[in-house]
């Protein structure tokens, strides 16, 4: 299931990444969009606001709120009332939502939110990394990461489908790299309303707030039952593993585009070295792999598309025969000196018969650019691990010693 760019070309237009996402949201027929439209925000909600003004999104309420906390709180109410609900945020905005994120997932509300990944303050930095969304790892949201604007656009429809499935009912964050994808102009096929209508059925939840049939969401759960709520959320995440694959496969059947389900692979079949990464860095890595493959280096890529649920089995299957695995992280758990993908990949391989060394590189923090040469240097380090074992398990990439 590879993408056929030449076939898509006749339907493509060159637009900004944020616009492609806004257009995809429009095609998904949301009923409520909330937004706090000042920094940090993106053009996504601005473009949606324009669509609303043009009357292009029927049966939808666009709510301007006074903070990101309110933006998500508004969607708690709307989603519980049975409305398909959407917002977009980034960086500090997402951090301010932290408390509400738990409420959305705990009430099993299938909200979809695009997270435009940016670094968090302090120091002030508006550029891309993944610290904002990775810091929300345990809030009970499904997290999907996209490699280009076509994928983040298409992922929007997939996200609603996954979230609203009666067996899942979990909120989904679709994550796109700030500036690198949100502000890039590149050719993209905008989602077509009629095919989306076929792909994504109307949102008709079994349980919703209704004055004629009163219910309570998110009410009191004492020690007698709280554990079971958490257990059921985990059960839903487990079921989402298959649903994410199914949503990608079904999307492929209708739209002809596929980016992997939980993961995707590139040149991994005979690879000694397997790089693991999420987001737009994946494209640069593919270019580096082509260059090194031409020189006979057996290197491949495991793209992690779903970070929550974490695709443990899928990762094991891909890396089991490799000689070294390298996890690249645009985030850090300060105090562990590791990025989350690295930590979790190691954990996925422990207590198994798979015996492959794993090393980690923290990279691209606060928008530091990642040229192909940086990827090639990392692959050189991986080769050394094959020859002489691990010397440094996890490290910062391109650290400027002169600034320390």
């Amino acid at each position: 299931m590879q993408r056929d760019f030449e076939k898509d070309k006749k339907n493509m237009v060159v637009v900004e990444g944020s616009y492609a996402v806004a257009s995809a949201v429009k095609s998904c027929r949301p009923n409520v969009i909330s937004a706090y439209p000042i920094t940090p925000q993106t053009h996504i909600v601005e473009d949606l606001s324009q669509f609303m003004a043009d009357g292009a999104i029927p049966n939808c309420e666009y709510i301007n709120v006074e903070s990101e906390f309110s933006a998500l709180s508004a969607l708690v109410g709307s989603s519980a009332a049975g409305a398909r609900s959407y917002s977009a945020t980034t960086s500090q905005g997402l951090e301010l939502m932290h408390e509400v994120l738990f409420n959305v997932s705990g009430m099993r509300l299938p909200v979809v939110m695009t997270v435009v990944n940016r670094a968090v303050s302090a120091p002030i930095n508006i550029w891309n990394d993944h610290q904002d969304s990775i810091s929300q790892r345990d809030t009970g949201w499904i997290q999907l990461y996209a490699e280009d604007t076509q994928e983040i656009s298409d992922m929007t429809a997939q996200a609603f489908k996954i979230a609203e499935d009666p067996e899942i009912l979990l909120p989904v964050m679709t994550c796109m790299d700030g500036f690198i994808l949100s502000h890039v102009y590149e050719p993209v096929v905008l989602l077509e309303d009629d095919i989306v209508a076929e792909y994504l059925p109307p949102f008709e939840p079994e349980f919703k707030l209704d004055p004629k049939n009163p219910k309570t969401f998110g009410a009191f759960a004492d020690p007698n039952s709280y554990t079971e709520f958490r257990y059921l959320q985990q059960q839903a995440m487990d079921k989402a593993l298959k649903k994410i694959e199914d949503a990608a496969a079904e999307f492929y059947d209708l739209f002809g585009r596929h980016y992997g389900g939980l993961i995707d692979t590139y040149e991994t079949d005979d690879a000694d070295i397997i790089l693991m990464a999420m987001g737009s860095i994946v494209g640069t890595i593919k270019d580096a792999i082509d260059k090194l493959r031409a020189k006979g280096v057996k290197v491949g890529l495991l793209k992690v598309r779903s970070f929550r649920p974490f695709p443990v089995e899928a990762i094991r299957n891909v890396v089991k025969d490799a000689k070294v695995v390298v996890a690249l992280d645009k985030n850090i758990s300060i105090g562990l000196n590791e990025g989350a993908l690295f930590t979790e990949t190691k954990a996925s391989l422990y207590n198994t018969k798979i015996d492959v060394p794993v090393i980690g590189f923290m990279i691209g923090h606060g928008g530091r650019d990642i040229p192909t040469g940086t990827i090639e240097n990392i692959i050189d380090e991986a080769k050394k691990v094959i020859d002489s074992g691990i010397t440094v398990e996890s490290q910062f990439t391109d650290l400027k010693e002169e600034l320390l």
């Binding site: 760019f5 493509m12 060159v14 900004e16 508006i126 550029w127 280009d148 790299d177 500036f179 690198i180 502000h183 890039v184 102009y185 590149e186 050719p187 737009s280 860095i281 494209g283 640069t284 593919k286 270019d287 928008g367 650019d369 990642i370 040229p371 192909t372």
Partner: protein, 180 residues
Amino acid sequence: MKEIRIHGRGGQGSVTAAELLAVAAFADGKFSQAFPAFGVERRGAPVQAFTRISEDPIRLRAQVYEPDYVIVQDPTLLEVVSIASGAKDDGLILINSDFDPEHFDLDTNAKIMTVNATKIALDIIGRPIVNTVLLGAFAGASGLIDPASIKEAVMERFPGKVGEKNAEAIQKAYDMMMEA
């Protein structure tokens, strides 16, 4: 793949120029990608924007370090920015200036060309906005892109009289470079 770096000052439309170039290149049947050098934009501050043009889909997400083409909107930038940095030996640097190329002593093997885009803009558009004019000149100087595609992209972005005047200026700049 061809890589283009555009230097300008905040407010001169460098990012818009990069985007229009990507739109025009795609209309020519190529794949394209345009993005700014992600700064905190301030009017008058040096800014950069990039465009990639390729026969194949573009996956690379890094900034442009070794451009095939450099477009400079404002020659005063030469005092503060190393505009020739990384330019390929067989590359081309196009500067908005009324000086001849020999006037510019840059540390590069790339070919230097100049066009008085400011004059063209003032004569035809009536304002010293040179970004679209330079795209016309770039089409002529590089042969990389069809000037008709650039005019179409500009008129779609700026419909009506503004777009028409820009298109006229683009053609003028293109013709001048073809005659040069």
